[in-house]
Amino acid sequence: MRDPVRLQQEDFSLDEEVAALRASSKRMGGIATFIGCARDFSEGRKVTQISFDAYGSMALAEMNKLRDEAIAKFALLDARIVHRVGMVRAGEQIVFIAAGAEHRAPALQACHWLIDELKQRVPIWKKEITPQGEAWVTPHP
């Protein structure tokens, strides 16, 4: 079984991640998932690729803290967080979050909370690569 919290260059499989989450408990009545993808258009420009840089050890530690906090805060049965680093082509998957709980409400709330917190707290930076050049992304509020 792969680690529930990972930073990796390669793509991930939604089916494999959800199967791993479901394998952790048969009491799970609700599973919420979020997949962030690389858009091919941003700020009026065509985007061909996005390059992700991360402070790897701290990013992984912070993602593990987020998972632990979400499990405690929303009484989850399990949660998984996977974020890609390196080069991601437009249209590809970037980040995966899954939250499993006995009921749908905490699963949905936890999934939303996790992606919002990840954006605020995990040291990862993205650079959009366009035909006109490259630019680091300024975070949205």
Binding site: Y55, M58, L118, K119, R121, V122, P123, K127, W136, P139
Partner: protein
């Protein structure tokens, strides 16, 4: 020595992912920041966070040790 790392947009503005700063007794995080800010002003325009030995640090008066690992970071944009 103090090992200072940079990532993403800060690394690009510094022109390096890592620099070393000579350790002096009594050195604090703000001393390293001031020293590097003078050398790399454009990079430090976007620095918002610091970490020492892998932990977020808000108190810039934190004392450093020989061998401390410091990171100066801009706002995150993952996800």
């Amino acid at each position: 020595m103090i090992r200072v790392q940079f990532f993403g947009p800060v690394a690009e503005r510094v022109g390096a992912c890592e620099v070393q700063v000579a350790f002096k007794a009594g050195m604090r995080l703000q001393d390293v920041r001031e020293q590097l800010k003078t050398k790399y002003p454009a990079a430090f325009e976007i620095v918002c966070f610091a970490a020492v030995n892998g932990e977020h640090v808000r108190d810039m008066s934190l004392p450093l040790q020989e061998g401390s690992e410091v990171v100066f970071m801009s706002k995150f944009s993952g996800g």
